[in-house]
Symmetry: C2
């Protein structure tokens, strides 16, 4: 279904050039795009929607919003061990949005696609009287039968995570005025972590390269809640060591002055880091790309965290009240 209004000619002007990169997109001139996975590979598909003032702040720049729209989906591909192939983007623009905004969004989106070697294969553009929304569907490729799954955690596995946790949640707190006095450089770092996810495609590739059993997912809603999405399908429990949770210098400074901020670090969203489990020697082979933060238990669905004082506490989906 094509756009119904002449106003969308400008969309074609801004997005069509991005799509020229891949012949599969048929220059956005056809009803659909055509592609094939490489020999010996399957197609991995994921989709995520972002709504203005629900999933991003309208006052954020169109450049970082475009990066977020793409990268939250690439993070899902990373969680499956897939390398990105192409995307289709549906955009519902609020009718008051300026052409300049759309132009800047499209330019940033195109640059980010190019930097990840992802093709814009097609899309749909509609107007909406409500908040602007983006719905992106991303395709990736994974060797047949080798996709990383959430149901592969086993008793005795170690649990590891990429990057550092909590930065984005703290960054959002800074943006909303709920966290102050962190210092300009650290504030900039944390805000950037909220604005621009870093999908861990390299870590995913390394996991796949191990050619062994690994459970994986990406953290979007906080470790405390998300880890249960492995516990459920794998029928296991988890215990984390608070002292081992990897923190940026900025996050470390924040919790040092206010330990209650641990709840945000464990329960806040937008990390887009990979949570993985596997045999200790397999995880060790990943080197310093990941940090071991706990181990898998046979207490199905039970998620615990050992505090800095050595005491064990339950880790509720929204964080934990050890410091309350």
């Amino acid at each position: 279904m094509a756009a119904r209004s002449g106003e969308f000619d400008l969309i074609a002007r801004h997005f069509a050039p991005i799509a020229q990169r891949d012949p599969a997109a048929l220059s956005l001139l056809d009803d659909a795009a055509v592609f094939s996975p490489p020999a010996g590979h399957e197609v991995v598909v994921t989709t995520d929607a972002l709504v203005a003032d629900v999933h991003f702040r309208t006052i954020d720049t169109p450049e970082t919003i475009a990066q977020k729209v793409l990268r939250v989906n690439l993070s899902d591909l990373a969680a499956m061990g897939a390398r990105p192939g192409g995307v289709v983007l549906t955009t519902g623009y609020n009718r008051d949005l300026s052409e300049d905004w759309i132009s800047r969004f499209a330019k940033s989106f195109g640059q980010d696609c190019a930097s990840y070697d992802v093709s814009l294969l097609g899309g749909d553009t509609v107007g909406t009287p409500g908040p602007t929304f983006f719905s992106l569907t991303a395709f990736g490729y994974v060797p047949t039968g080798r996709a990383l799954r959430r149901d592969q955690a086993r008793l005795g596995d170690v649990i590891a995570v990429s990057g550092t946790l909590g930065d984005a949640a703290l960054g959002l707190s800074i943006l909303s005025g709920d966290l102050t006095g962190v210092g300009l450089a650290m504030e900039d770092f944390l805000k950037d972590r909220y604005w621009v996810p870093r999908p861990r495609l390299d870590v995913a590739k390394a996991c796949l390269g191990l050619e062994t059993r690994i459970a994986a997912m990406d953290l979007s809603d906080g470790l405390a809640g998300d880890c249960r999405k492995i516990c459920g399908p794998s029928k296991v429990g988890m215990v984390f060591e608070l002292k081992d949770i990897p923190l940026s210098d900025a996050a470390r400074a924040v919790v040092a002055s206010d330990p209650s901020r641990w709840n945000q670090i464990l329960g806040g969203g937008d990390d887009y880091e990979l949570l993985i489990t596997g045999a200790a020697n397999d995880i060790a082979a990943l080197g310093d790309q990941v940090t071991v933060i706990g181990s898998v238990t046979d207490q199905v669905g039970e998620v615990l965290v050992r505090g800095l004082d050595g005491k064990m506490a339950e880790l509720a989906p929204g964080g934990f009240d050890h410091f309350k």
Copy 2:
């Protein structure tokens, strides 16, 4: 990115059962779904978004809205000659929408997927303070290199169309009170044509079966404007014969009493019929699945229609003023 609110547990309850049908969906429990095209086939992908009170009427039933969300995308697959495989569905529910509405939408969507042998492979559910929206991405399969394109029309081709034109546009006029006195049975027929598209997958399959050059697209915004989407890429013009445009009994009755309604029939949207061009003997082999309505010319971008009086007129994208 998962839903952030407990309110969406109910979505999982309504949609997860639909997704159980295909192992590729991994029961909607993983970050993404995995699938492969059949041997010798490529993946065709298309996406369409529908916004409440832009693309459907909020007061329409959730059952027919669900059918429309799926079928407008299947129509795009038909236009490429692809047979449907799977879909991912993003839903942005207005927060005032009732669970009953969502339940009815999901049930209808599941039934329609089953009737077309389409798998729900995944999706995303978000809340929005604005109008409800749906963004669906559909995958289909087509023999490698055989997708029907828009750039394949040639001088001397005949132009044909599936089904009948204009019914949905007249149906919408009835629903909006702009067309009255058609009679109850005919009104019901026309409204149904607006509510529930019939993607012409059988016609698409027959076109592919010809194993010859065919240009194809689906009509969503009206013949008068949409036909230019073949003229452009194929660098041709078109001339239509008004007397040959296929009409339902209801549409025929409407134009008989008000010839100005021809503008709606040629310029209105939501037909979801296939427009195809090809050599006369190839099109003839499709039998009565399609009706020949014109021919391809070498007057690039020029679209004409010969009226019932034999006089030639330009066919503007919004219709033509022959009867004004």
